[in-house]
């Protein structure tokens, strides 16, 4: 008697009669007895909805979430404002319980939503074409690297140390499968060492991956990097924070060949790391090398505008081992959230969010360092994150903050041991002046 199983004993009897069988056991006759389970899997007995709710609430009570704590933690996952329109739309089950649009005539809702998502990603990144999304920013980096090696037929990728550590780890896992050399360009004074970049880029380099703003929140010298890379006919792959694009120069304007990044900031909650979405957009000439789904506009037999999955022949279900990638699902619901976010915030809203992040982060940086007890690791233009160093240890700072219901920034020594201890603070548009002053008060009060 389960709510999700409509079949009653009478229904089962009816089915067995039609099949000419005596018992349901008979349908499993093909399974050799030696591998049939003799007893049921050892799971707890089935639970009713109320019981499940109680269990979940208990688990939740042991998670300190961003509604109960003030969060100054960023480093790749961000607490941004999510308008109520987003939850409404992603909650519509016509979107959430449909599948990959293999039959376009009955999937026009999903297909148009993805087309609009692609359009909006192009709008914010300044690129020509976008795909329907990938699993996350890290896998987008891996896919972009493959596009570069594919296009140039070269077998080396350079990636800056200022690109997010998670991205670099995933990149090296996937490039390793194909024996593609992945070399890291060192960080110098908080940004990519441009001299090393110039030295390392050669006619063997398929592409260079840079992040802007970088892991530390600093703006990179993309202008110089672009010249160096294109001089040797390699590809410039730029990983960007989509919120920053409300104000700052786009990958298209920088002359990037491929723009990638983590789309979580656009209408998706932090969700302990997933599901997120990776966006990938590129120049027109690279369009057919893009992995993943792509939706195109077309007309039906009566001349009406409609949308279809296009360029599918590059994908796994047709090309199989020669596919551009093995990716099958995308992050459709997350991409939908991103679209609704961008539609709701619009041209002005994205700018305003970026502005508030910028101003609040700069305000926080200025008052945290006012007394001299703490200082910025480097004095360099930044967006909404900044690395701070000072005498008290990272652990003690975190403890002190946690006691007052604050989740402190990221202690980056783990990933950048050469920089010593220090904390990367993130201040989004959701933080208030009072929260910032509270943070300062606690930090100042430490020995």
């Amino acid at each position: 008697m389960f709510p999700y199983l409509p079949a009653t004993p009478e229904d089962e009897t009816k089915i067995l009669e039609k099949l000419g069988l005596h018992s349901a056991e008979d349908v499993f006759e093909d399974i050799p007895p030696s591998i049939r389970l003799q007893k049921d899997p050892n799971l707890e007995r089935p639970k009713s909805e109320l019981e499940v709710e109680r269990i979940l609430k208990d688990l939740c009570s042991r998670n300190l979430d961003a509604e109960r704590a003030v969060i100054f933690l960023g480093a790749g996952s961000y607490d941004h404002y999510i308008p109520s329109t987003v939850r409404y739309v992603t909650g519509r089950s016509e979107f959430s319980t449909s599948y990959t649009p293999y039959q376009p005539e009955v999937s026009q809702g999903t297909l148009q939503a993805i087309f609009e998502y692609q359009s909006m990603i192009c709008a914010i990144t300044g690129m020509d074409v976008s795909n329907a999304s990938l699993y996350d920013g890290a896998s987008a980096a891996a896919e972009a690297a493959r596009m570069a090696t594919n296009r140039t037929r070269r077998r080396q990728i350079l990636v800056s140390e200022t690109v997010h550590p998670e991205t670099r780890k995933v990149l090296s896992t996937f490039l390793g499968c194909h024996g593609i050399a992945c070399e890291v360009l060192p960080v110098k004074s908080g940004v990519t060492d441009m001299e090393m970049l110039e030295e390392k880029v050669s006619r063997e380099t398929a592409g260079v991956i840079l992040q802007n703003p970088n892991f530390f929140g600093f703006f990179e010298d993309i202008g110089s990097a672009e010249k160096i890379i294109h001089n040797k006919k390699g590809l410039l792959i730029l990983s960007v924070d989509p919120i920053s694009l409300g104000l700052f120069k786009t990958p298209g304007e920088w002359g990037a060949d491929i723009a990638i990044g983590e789309g979580q900031s656009l209408g998706n909650p932090m969700s302990f790391g997933g599901p997120y979405l990776g966006f990938l957009a590129c120049t027109k000439s690279l369009m057919r090398k893009m992995p993943g789904r792509i939706v195109g506009q077309t007309r039906d037999t009566e001349g009406k505008r409609g949308f279809v999955s296009t360029l599918q022949t590059r994908e796994q279900h047709i090309r199989r081992e020669k596919a551009t990638s093995n990716i099958c699902s995308n992050e459709s619901l997350n991409a939908l959230a991103a679209s609704v976010y961008l539609a709701t915030m619009g041209k002005e809203g994205l700018k305003e969010v970026a502005r508030q992040c910028y101003d609040k982060a700069h305000y926080a940086a200025s008052i945290l360092t006012a007394s001299g007890k703490y200082r910025l690791l480097y004095d360099h233009p930044f967006f909404m994150e900044f690395p701070v160093v000072g005498a008290p240890s990272d652990e003690r700072i975190h403890e002190a903050l946690l006691r007052e219901g604050i989740l402190g920034g990221y202690a980056f020594q783990k990933d950048y041991p050469q920089l010593g201890h220090g904390i990367l603070y993130c201040v989004t548009e959701k933080r208030t002046k009072q929260e910032i002053h509270n943070l300062q008060r606690i930090l100042e009060g430490m020995e």
């Binding site: 057919r288 599918q312 022949t313 590059r314 047709i318 090309r319 020669k322």
Partner: protein, 128 residues
Amino acid sequence: MKVLDGLYYSKDHEWVKPEGSHALVGITDHAQLGLGDVVYVELPEEGDEFQAGDPIGVVESVKAASDVYTPIAGKVIRVNGKLIDHPERINQDPYGSWLIELETTDADMEEGLLSPEEYKMWCLEEDE
């Protein structure tokens, strides 16, 4: 299904038209029928060198993307750029729509290739 005289054929449904020390390569009527409407053609670059049997490009339709193999060895001296803007010509005129022109290094072109008759037989065998 058309098979033209005066051409050589491969089992992968490419045709070769020798022209002195050069040769034109394309795909056959059988191939374009199987693919359906061609939407895109990926061609190699001038100067690329290939062995017989190497993949030299891709012909894409809505339902398939087929690799094209060169039946003979050689160096690409010309590619048919018109097909990039008008891929449908491959459907309309497969034997008039050459993909690449090669400078051939294969001494005896007939070796390993099928005559029109042999190709016709091969197609019948395959379809069984």
